[in-house]
Each structure stands twice: as structure tokens, then as C-alpha cells.
């Protein structure tokens, strides 16, 4: 019978300033990005950057909770594969991400609405 590898997911809360060093650390430890996403909950952004190890199937999520106005550095310089995730967060949520490698400048999806998943303006 084949072995099952099913480690428990890990969630680490970090501060936005720790983001880049932490990501760098993951990268050097051989993790790669599995997903990155944002959520707008309680007037704050929750950014999740999930990393995974392909051999152990570990799944570690970095959670950054920030205010709407906080600027976030792009991790695409360290992890090029994050480009599309970051463009998406920027366009759909309005997260202020700086210096994305290939910045579509809110035209990845070219939607009419502005940051539809982010804070509702005017309400």
C-alpha cells in the first residue's frame, strides 16, 4: 500500500516588514510558492502567501494583515512565479503592491469595476 503523506497545514502570522526576509528564507530552504491571495475582511487586507515543499507536501502559509493604505513590497523579484498572483491582488482587491516584475497596471483582467473585491467605495 502506498504511503500517505499528509502533513498538517501551518499558518504563520507575520508583519509586512518581515515579508521579504521570510520569503527569501523559504526560497533558500527549497520551498516554492503554491498560491498567494488576498481577502478583505473587517476593513483589513489579509494576504496569504502559501509555500510548499514538493517532497514532503508541507504547506505553510504566511499571513500578513495590513490596513488598506499600507504598501506591500512585491515578492516577484525573489519569486518570479508570483507575478500573476500579485497582479490579481492589485487589480481585484486594490492592494498596493509595489514594483511587480511584469506589472499589468490593473489591466490583467481589464474589468470595469475598480477593485471589486476590495473595500466598497462610497458605502
Amino acid at each position: 500500500m502506498a504511503e500517505i503523506i499528509n502533513p498538517a497545514d501551518v499558518l504563520i502570522d507575520i508583519d509586512v516588514t518581515e515579508l521579504l526576509p521570510k520569503v527569501m528564507e523559504f526560497k533558500t530552504n527549497g520551498y516554492r510558492i503554491s498560491q498567494a491571495c488576498a481577502a478583505y475582511i473587517n476593513e483589513k487586507y489579509e494576504l496569504s502567501y502559501s509555500f510548499t515543499d514538493l517532497n514532503t507536501y508541507e504547506f505553510i502559509t504566511l499571513r500578513v494583515v495590513i490596513d488598506v493604505d499600507t504598501e506591500v513590497p512585491s515578492i516577484s523579484e525573489i519569486i518570479p512565479a508570483a507575478v500573476f498572483y500579485e497582479n490579481e491582488m492589485k487589480e481585484l482587491f486594490g492592494v498596493k503592491i509595489k514594483m511587480i516584475n511584469l506589472d499589468y497596471d490593473n489591466k490583467l483582467y481589464r474589468i470595469n469595476a475598480k477593485a471589486p473585491l476590495g473595500p466598497k467605495e462610497g458605502n
Binding site: E3, Q35, A39, Y40, S50, P80, Y109, L117
Partner: protein, 359 residues
């Protein structure tokens, strides 16, 4: 301007399965630069959590994509089950496994056909799709829908596979396997096919890792990772090994997917031989509260589901990271330096599903 041409590729293009667009700069026909553009299918379905309750959302999420519709429904339900922390009856787990593999077979056959079409082998395309129809018939027989099955429910599944159905399925699988063996040779040995696939669009193991690729796309570059190894559904009880190839070219990706179809036949047989009886659904009460990530191996690779909710009818956040989304950087990588004739082929070899990518 010199010797370069600047042309659009997509969104409407017969080789493209779905609308994507590339700005292509080509020299003769060699691609010098390719900038992808998505968004022609973007609907924004993640935002529907604001408007629809978590039960109704299942039917929306199944329609993220018509190909692995079952998987999406199941992924969503599994995430909720993780939040509810509820136990699913064993029979339901096995049934889900069978349907998962149905999805895989139909998706891969569809892909093999489209690949054949992309390299201009129309008869082969027809042959693949002709075989594929049988899977759809079986899906309809068991779930009631050809593509969109709608059989999941938190706590189990809604429909059972009867012994008669089981018989039909097992015998159909046998005929399919025979038919597929025939075309396998064409895919693997035919000169013209090899001329189009061997050594083309190479993605090295390092690049595959670096660029965050997943699924058969990644396994064809020599990385043996398959989320099914995490043992969700009944995969923990089933004997299989991820299929890998080391060349990282179109041929390798074709090889991996073809072999996965055969593997799926095997998994279905195993599942039926081990399937326990009993309940297929256990009821749950109340609304979910909490957050969870779930990873599944879809035909195209690892999909990540994330739900965050706070005990209300509506979820706070639903997030779906689909395999194609993760494979986009890899695609951009293999596009550079390939030929114009290979562009369609390259796009196909990652087996893109733009609809789930853009949601």
C-alpha cells in the same frame, strides 16, 4: 522594424481552446517575445459569496469550469468538510474517487484530442474524442449530467453507483483501454507526431520548480509530485505511483497524460474492488466557521481551495488557485524561442483552462 513581425494571437483563434491573447513578436516564425493577456473569461465568481449562501455556491463553483467540474465541486465541499471537521462515509469517498478519475480520463482524452488537432492530425483528434464520449455517457448515467455532475454535498454524495452501473463501467473501461492502446502507438511512435513534439518546448526540471508549475506539466519535467499522494478521498487506500518523464518537452507531457489515463483505469478498477457498502451521506448542521486550505490533484495539476468564514450563511472569502494559473509563468517560458506553429501547441501542452484561471 527590421525582420520582425508583430501580430496578435487570440483571443479568437481556432487553435486556441479558449480565449487568451498573446502579443507575439516573431522573426520569420520564431517567437522572440510573447506577452500573455487573460481576462476574456473573467467573471468574478469569487465575489458571488457576497450574494449567495454557502450551499448555493457549490453550484456556482462547479461551473468554474466544465471540464473538472466535479473536482471543483468536490474541492469546495472538501474544504467545507475540513472546516466542519466532519467525517465522510467511506463509500462516498470511493465514489468520489471514481468520479475524480472519470474527470481525469475525460479531461486527458479531450486534451490528447486537442493536442492532435493542434499539430494538425485531425483523424487522431476525432479518434480521441470518440473514445472520450464513452466517459461522458458513464458520467451522465451515474450523476445525471454529462459534464456538470452536481452530486456532492457536505458530508457525502447525493447519488450512488448501482451494481448494474458498476458492471457497465468496468466493461466500458476495458473497451476504452483497448482503443486507447491503439492510438497510444500513434502518439508515441509516429514520425510526424514526434517531429512536432520531441524536443520542442522544453521546460527543465529546475525551471519547472522555480516557476511554480504543477500537474502533468511539472511531472513531465521530472518532478514526481502528485497531490493524490496526500490521500484525500480514497486515494490513501489505492496503489499508484505518480507518472513522471524527464524530457520536459511536448512529447513528455503527452506521455505523462497518456499514461495517467491508463493509470486512471487502474485506479477505477481498484476503487470498485475495494468499495465498501453503507451510507453515502451524513448530515451536517449549522453554518461553517473557520478557515481551511485544501489541495487537490486535478487533471491539470494541483488546485488550492481556500475558504474563510465566520459562521454566517455567506462565506467571507472563497479563493481558488487553479493549476493553469500556476502554470502561466511556465507557459511564458516555453513560448519564447518556439515557432509560430508551436505556439498553439505550447499553449495546449500546459492544458490551459482559462475559465478556471480567470474565474
Amino acid at each position: 522594424m527590421g525582420k520582425r513581425s508583430v501580430i496578435p494571437y487570440g483571443p479568437q483563434h481556432p487553435v486556441l481552446p479558449e480565449p487568451v491573447h498573446l502579443d507575439l513578436v516573431i522573426e520569420d516564425e520564431k517567437v522572440v517575445e510573447a506577452i500573455p493577456n487573460i481576462g476574456f473569461v473573467h467573471r468574478g465568481l469569487e465575489s458571488l459569496t457576497e450574494k449567495k449562501d454557502w450551499e448555493t455556491m457549490q453550484y456556482v463553483i462547479e461551473r468554474t469550469c466544465g471540464i473538472c467540474s466535479f473536482m471543483h465541486g468536490m474541492g469546495y465541499i472538501t474544504t467545507l468538510e475540513k472546516i466542519f471537521d466532519c467525517e465522510v462515509p467511506d463509500r462516498a469517498k470511493y465514489l468520489r474517487t471514481v468520479w475524480c478519475e472519470f474527470s481525469r480520463i475525460h479531461s486527458h482524452l479531450l486534451w490528447l484530442g486537442l493536442l492532435a488537432d493542434a499539430f494538425g492530425f485531425e483523424s487522431l483528434f476525432y479518434q480521441c474524442w470518440q473514445i472520450r464520449e464513452k466517459i461522458l455517457d458513464m458520467v451522465e448515467m451515474t450523476t445525471g449530467g454529462r459534464l456538470i455532475s452536481s452530486v456532492n454535498k457536505v458530508g457525502g454524495v447525493l447519488k450512488d453507483i448501482t451494481p448494474e452501473m458498476e458492471k457497465v463501467i468496468l466493461s466500458t473501461i476495458d473497451t476504452m483501454e483497448k482503443q486507447l492502446l491503439e492510438i497510444k502507438d500513434t502518439f508515441f511512435e509516429d514520425y510526424s507526431v514526434q517531429a512536432r513534439t520531441k524536443g520542442v518546448g522544453v521546460l527543465s526540471k529546475e525551471d519547472a520548480y522555480e516557476l511554480g508549475c504543477c500537474g502533468p506539466f511539472m511531472r513531465a519535467s521530472g518532478i514526481a509530485t502528485d497531490m493524490r499522494k496526500m490521500g484525500y478521498c480514497a486515494y490513501g487506500d489505492i496503489d499508484f505511483e505518480p507518472i513522471v518523464s524527464n524530457d520536459g518537452d511536448h512529447f513528455a507531457r503527452c506521455y505523462v497524460r497518456m499514461m495517467e489515463v491508463f493509470q486512471s483505469f487502474d485506479i477505477i478498477r481498484q476503487a470498485f474492488s475495494k468499495m465498501p457498502g453503507g451510507e453515502i451521506v451524513l448530515p451536517v448542521k449549522g453554518n461553517p466557521n473557520g478557515e481551511a486550505f485544501v489541495r487537490l490533484e486535478q487533471p491539470r495539476g494541483e488546485a488550492v481551495y481556500y475558504i474563510k468564514t465566520s459562521g454566517k450563511k455567506n462565506l467571507d472569502r472563497f479563493r481558488l488557485r487553479t493549476p493553469t494559473f500556476a502554470n502561466l509563468p511556465g507557459l511564458a517560458h516555453i513560448l519564447k524561442g518556439c515557432e509560430l506553429s508551436d505556439v498553439g501547441l505550447a499553449i495546449l501542452t500546459i492544458d490551459p483552462c482559462i475559465s478556471c484561471t480567470e474565474r
